[in-house]
């Protein structure tokens, strides 16, 4: 089981690394943000896997905080960072 958890975590990390491409590529601001969202969800999954592997309750708490805070960041993005002009410029 341990091995599976770790391997899956590794797999998810690779997955996440692949997502980097979207951040770099864009083209719009929102596209990059989407990728960051993906990172958030993936990181929650990785944390949970690692928590299970280590049998650590604290890491589940961390995953919980992650899930909550990823939402806050996303809201901050939507409400604040996404300026009208930039999107038009790009698309």
């Amino acid at each position: 089981m341990q091995l599976l958890y770790i391997t899956l975590a590794l797999f998810l990390l690779v997955n996440l690394a692949a997502g980097m491409w979207r951040v770099l590529r864009g083209p719009g601001v929102a596209d990059r943000m989407l990728a960051a969202q993906l990172f958030g969800t993936t990181a929650v999954a990785i944390l949970l896997l690692l928590a299970e592997a280590a049998g650590s309750n604290a890491l589940r708490d961390a995953a919980l905080v992650f899930a909550l805070l990823a939402a806050v960041t996303a809201v901050a993005f939507v409400k604040r960072a996404w300026s009208m002009q930039e999107e038009r410029d790009v698309d």
Partner: protein, 97 residues
């Protein structure tokens, strides 16, 4: 037996994650990528959480996992809506085949 289901669920979850990422990379515009992200990733996480919950030592521990999923789900859906709406307001046109 439980382990078997766990493994199955976890692997399925991983597959959905992969699909989400592929979608994010392949899909042509913001809206379609949003589809990939909200649905595939959330299902992927859900399946993984289900797999892990089977292993949980207590009901409350499993509950915590479910809580996490619920939050991610809610946040994912809301944020997807907010982003889509933002794009719409900013006049981003959907990609057409």
């Amino acid at each position: 037996m439980i382990d078997f289901f766990s493994i199955l669920l976890l692997l399925a979850g991983a597959l959905f994650f992969l699909a989400g990422t592929v979608g994010l990379l392949r899909f042509p515009d913001l809206y379609t990528r949003l589809h990939a992200l909200t649905k595939a990733d959330n299902v992927g996480l859900g399946l993984m959480i289900a797999g892990l919950a089977l292993q949980a030592e207590s009901l409350s521990a499993a509950g915590k996992l479910v809580l996490i999923w619920g939050l991610v789900l809610l946040a994912g859906a809301s944020v997807a809506y907010l982003i889509a709406r933002g794009a719409l307001l900013r006049g981003v046109l959907p990609w057409k085949r």
